[in-house]
């Protein structure tokens, strides 16, 4: 039964990674850039949610919605100011700008909210469902995280495959020039992608800090890197890949912590990533692109 307990907490952690990884993977798919500031958007979302709930005593779900709105706007502003002028620039320049943006968000948070860790109140309380005479216990936040991830995944898949905007996104990730010729507003589509990714980051931030309740300006960076790894794991640019990669990474991390060594869990996670990339160089569900001369 402990195995099942570990498995469920792994799935829950993995769901958070998956939600964050979705943001990475969508932005990568469409703008072909590694948005290192994504992890810090999570942190901003968590802070907004924290202040809404703990200071202004709003309903936690309203708090999450406010965080989503703030992060969506933040994501669009960041894209407009820092990334849009670099559309034609070499990818390394964009990468450094994204890292600069990450430092900027972290240090702004440090000035606004100080480095003292805040104790984040769980958005659904600290209760748990007890199953099998209490042998299997699933906390409410774990259950909510898994459900939220499934819902987001389903809605996003529908959005991408059925709506006009989703179609535009797919077209842009395929070929920006051709998409523009077809009358798609490429800039608006990219902006929309950042908006969705950042909104999801806010949800991830609230869920992450409900499960691990210490909130600091650097809270987002490690989960950000892990989620980025998850996105690569599943094949960067692929939405089901981000979902699968996130879940697997979460499960591997919890199992490594439980059965191998808690200090070496990060090494195990990254080790598995390397092995996977050796067998499948484009990730689990990634497309291999054939280079032509």
């Amino acid at each position: 039964m402990t195995f099942l307990n570990f498995f469920i907490s792994g799935i829950s952690l993995g769901s958070i990674y998956a939600i964050i990884a979705l943001g990475y993977t969508m932005v990568y798919g469409i703008a072909k850039m590694l948005n290192f500031a994504h992890g810090d958007v999570i942190m901003v979302g968590a802070y907004v949610c924290f202040y809404a709930v703990a200071r202004y005593e709003l309903n936690p779900f309203l708090g999450v919605v406010i965080a989503m709105i703030v992060c969506t706007i933040l994501g669009m502003i960041v894209e407009r100011l820092a990334y849009k002028p670099l559309r034609q620039a070499p990818s390394l320049a964009v990468l450094i700008t994204a890292i600069g943006m990450s430092y900027f968000l972290q240090n702004t948070a440090l000035l606004l909210w100080s480095s003292n860790p805040k104790v984040f109140p769980s958005i659904v309380g600290r209760g748990a469902f007890k199953l099998f005479d209490g042998e299997l216990s699933i906390s409410h936040i774990t259950a909510l995280t898994i459900i939220a991830c499934l819902v987001i995944m389903a809605v996003l898949t529908l959005f991408i495959s059925k709506t006009k905007m989703g179609k535009a996104m797919r077209a842009c990730s395929e070929d920006k020039g051709a998409a523009q010729l077809m009358g798609i507003n490429v800039n608006a589509t990219i902006s929309m992608t950042f908006a969705i990714g950042s909104g999801l980051a806010a949800v991830a931030g609230a869920l992450l800090c409900s499960a691990y309740p210490t909130l600091m300006p650097t809270t987002g960076s490690l989960p950000g890197i892990k989620a980025f790894t998850a996105a690569v794991f599943g094949g960067i640019g692929s939405i089901p890949g981000a979902f699968l990669g996130g879940l697997m990474l979460g499960v591997i991390e919890i199992f490594a912590k439980a059965y191998i060594s808690s200090q070496l869990s990060d090494a195990v996670v990254f080790g598995v990533l390397i092995v996977v990339l050796l067998v499948k160089p484009a990730g689990l569900l990634g497309k291999m692109t054939q280079e032509k001369v």
Partner: protein, 351 residues
């Protein structure tokens, strides 16, 4: 006409190399004079060795990012391998070699060998990948090295060197000494790294890299960077050349790590994390990929800048971030680029 153009190009290249050496040597003399006449504040004097180490790191990463054209996000990993192996060597040799500069030199050589070996082991899987996947795997290796060194224990007693992982089970005999203490790192380091040693290391690194770049192998690196498929089709062994650049870069990073570590009394693995790798990458990108002098200057400026911004206290890292973003936006802005190229006296006249 073409021949002349080629000769001119060669001359421009040579001029750039001599300019780099000249700038480094002049800067060294100026700093040395300033520090001996007490013109430099003590905090600035303390930064001379780290700046040298970062400059060597910038040169070594430039070989991979600028010349070979592969993105590496885990360069601090090699630095930490070098730092730990170098410092451990220096401590082991404390009784054997009393003359500190020789001990430092041997420590840096050992550090370079260890880091080169790490680079070789990591290079085998990494160099099979491409682009962003290669970048993420170097990031992963950087994190793995950090995790392992954080859990690594090594000591010495009368029976030789004892090692253990995760927890201290070295069971040293009485009189033995634990050197590497897992997350506590190494403490009680003798600060034998000096500014002249740093400058010499930088010159050696520049000589190695410039000679490599202007050799058959260096031209192969650039051919691979510019067009991998074309390079392969003319019979270049891609893996061999990539490995050569990667291992050489790791070795230089290892030596720089040893120099860096021996400027402090304590060193921990967490010092060499993802942020350090990024810091070095920023030097390379801001200095211009493939431009050694640019990387060196960027390393100096960006190490001194946060220190000089100290009067802004809590705003300094924010300012640093803004400077970073604005510089990236400015250097990639077409109008500003045009303006800057008009200022450059060495600009080639015809397109």
């Amino acid at each position: 006409m073409t021949m002349r153009r080629l000769i001119n190009l060669k001359r421009a290249e040579a001029r750039k190399i001599y300019l780099t050496y000249a700038v480094v040597i002049v800067a060294y003399i100026v700093c040395q004079v300033m520090s001996s006449t007490k013109f430099l504040s003590s905090s600035m004097r303390g930064m001379l060795v780290p700046i040298c180490a970062y400059m060597v790191m910038a040169v070594s990463l430039n070989l991979v990012v600028g010349i070979l054209g592969e993105l590496s996000l885990g360069h601090a990993g090699f630095m930490s391998v070098g730092a730990f192996s170098g410092v451990a060597t220096a401590i082991l040799l404390q009784g054997v070699i009393p003359f500190a500069p020789v001990r430092l030199a041997i420590a840096m050589i050992v550090a370079a060998i260890f880091a080169a070996f790490a680079g070789f082991i990591i290079g085998i899987p990494v160099l099979r990948l491409k682009g962003d996947y290669l970048a993420i795997v170097t990031l992963a290796f950087g994190e793995i090295i950090k995790s392992i060194l954080n859990n690594f224990y090594m000591g010495i007693d009368s029976q030789g060197i004892q090692m253990s992982m995760l927890s201290d089970t070295t069971r040293l005999l009485p009189g033995g000494k634990l050197i590497i203490r897992g997350p506590m790192g190494i403490s009680g380091i003798q600060k034998i790294a000096t500014f002249p040693a740093g400058a010499i290391l930088l010159i050696i690194a520049l000589m190695i890299v410039f000679n490599l770049v202007n050799s058959r192998s260096g031209r192969a690196f650039m051919a691979i960077r510019d067009d991998r498929i074309a390079a392969e089709s003319i019979g270049l062994d891609i893996t061999k050349y990539k490995m050569m650049a990667f291992v050489m870069s790791a070795a230089l990073a290892g030596a720089a790590g040893a120099l860096f570590a021996m400027n402090y009394s304590t060193i921990v693995a967490n010092k060499f994390d993802f942020n350090t790798s990024i810091l070095i990458l920023v030097f390379v990108v801001l200095g211009g990929q493939g431009n050694m002098l640019g990387g060196i200057i960027a390393a100096a400026v960006l190490t001194i800048l946060p220190e000089k911004l100290r009067s802004f206290s809590e705003y300094r890292m924010l300012l640093y971030a803004i400077v970073l973003i604005v510089m990236m936006l400015a250097t990639n802005n077409a109008e500003i680029k045009e303006f800057l190229s008009r200022l450059n006296p060495f600009r080639r006249k015809e397109a």
